[in-house]
Symmetry: D2
Subunit: 146 residues, 4 copies
């Protein structure tokens, strides 16, 4: 599925353990649904208390799930003993974030020793149809665990 090979055989458990530590993800009800080398997927059911003024999912929450997916996509390719930090991101919001479920899908575009570049999309799902609502391009940094 992915063209990448993980350098750490334990990459999935390492990614999932770190995700469990993200209190925001449980606060908003997000689940990590896929972890492959260089690819991560996170799902978030729509909730009325996470919205902007029109009842759409707030851009910051769409950003939070796709940023998290991008970060862990990058981490999945790093050697053991490293953590990941978001250096920066850019996101475009291309349609109102309205639907029953949101899926953030992230892939690594370039895995570097220090910096990795990832891209990710957020789609809204309604009656089994997916619609692109946001797209992100981001830089992640590897940090040796202290």
């Amino acid at each position: 599925m992915s063209e990448f090979v993980a350098r750490d055989k334990e990459f999935e458990s390492r990614v999932r353990k770190s995700f469990e530590l993200q209190t925001l993800m449980s606060t908003i009800g997000a689940r990590m649904t896929k972890v492959f080398p260089g690819e991560v997927e996170i799902e978030l059911p729509y909730r009325r208390d996470l919205c902007q003024q029109n009842g759409y999912l707030h851009a910051g929450i769409a950003t939070a799930i796709v940023d998290t997916a991008c970060g862990y996509a990058a981490l999945s390719l790093m050697p053991a003993g490293f953590g990941v930090l978001t250096v920066e991101y850019k996101a475009n919001f291309v349609a109102p974030a309205i639907g029953d479920l949101f899926i953030a899908r992230a892939v690594v575009k370039k895995a570097g020793r220090t910096l990795s570049v990832c891209s990710g999309d957020v789609v809204a799902v309604k009656k089994d149809e997916e619609k692109l609502v946001a797209t992100m391009l981001t830089t992640m940094m590897a940090l040796r665990n202290s």
Copy 2:
């Protein structure tokens, strides 16, 4: 304070009413503390349930408050009868988001008829000292209320 003049005298109440409709802002405990023509400030006390894996405020939440501040800074300069939508943003995270309180400050850099460009910073406050943790550059769009 601001170099801008609002075209709608009711800009502050219009901005504050829209902010009240953002359920995410009350969910996370954010308050709108300043509304001037072309300038908005939002505060968020630190909460342990809004964090990433190291206990820092999640980038998505820092983004949510500064995006919201930027959007309302843009809206404050729009004529009555218009709403605002985030087209896109880019944010850099320059220091760990750790502190007792976070303040997002946004200003309009260019107010256009359709598109406005805003910039915003997020500082972390600890013992009355402020530290820059994130900075954003964003494009906002005016939408006639239907």
Copy 3:
């Protein structure tokens, strides 16, 4: 090849005519090699006088060709009577831009009435091998010709 359908049958000649007006493109020696609905490709042979301090192609020139490709990918889907303007872009530089030839490939991710979102890559070609050197995410605006 492309999933898009052009609304203007003359899209290719319209795009190529506009490209011919870009004096920068002829100054640097860039050629438009492909124009499909929603997809454009531009090639630039390496030149020693377009470089940064290490002899790599300058980021601004890599940006110029992929911005131009993105803009015309967006224009290819617009109705007759419209022109295109770059609202903003973000680019990551993932490897030194060194090679005999650079190819910028752009696709439309979301075609809107006013705003379109495009993504594009720049690859460096050396001995028939391609290497990704830059990737862009951008917002383009449709402007009615006056």
Copy 4:
């Protein structure tokens, strides 16, 4: 003028020597007009052969001068023995780039050991009046000279 202190007393000559190596800058006729710790200014007289389809300065060229100014603003604060590379940037184009002269002004927002964040503006000058045409937010990387 600047709040920064250079760690390398020779920062100005180091920056100017590197700028001299950028062949693109002499190709387009750009001059480095100011070098302070954490601040750099570059000027470019308008030239008809650097334009997009409407006769405005091409976004890629506006980007090239402000990227270069940002990079050298970052380099001015780095210790001796380091060079600088652009990791990524985002730029907004807020008005047509038309004028007799363009000035790119860059400042460091956060100087880090590995990564620095800079912002920069490009103004167009016409009859001694300045108008903002583009604004950039960028990440620069320090690289030890080999």
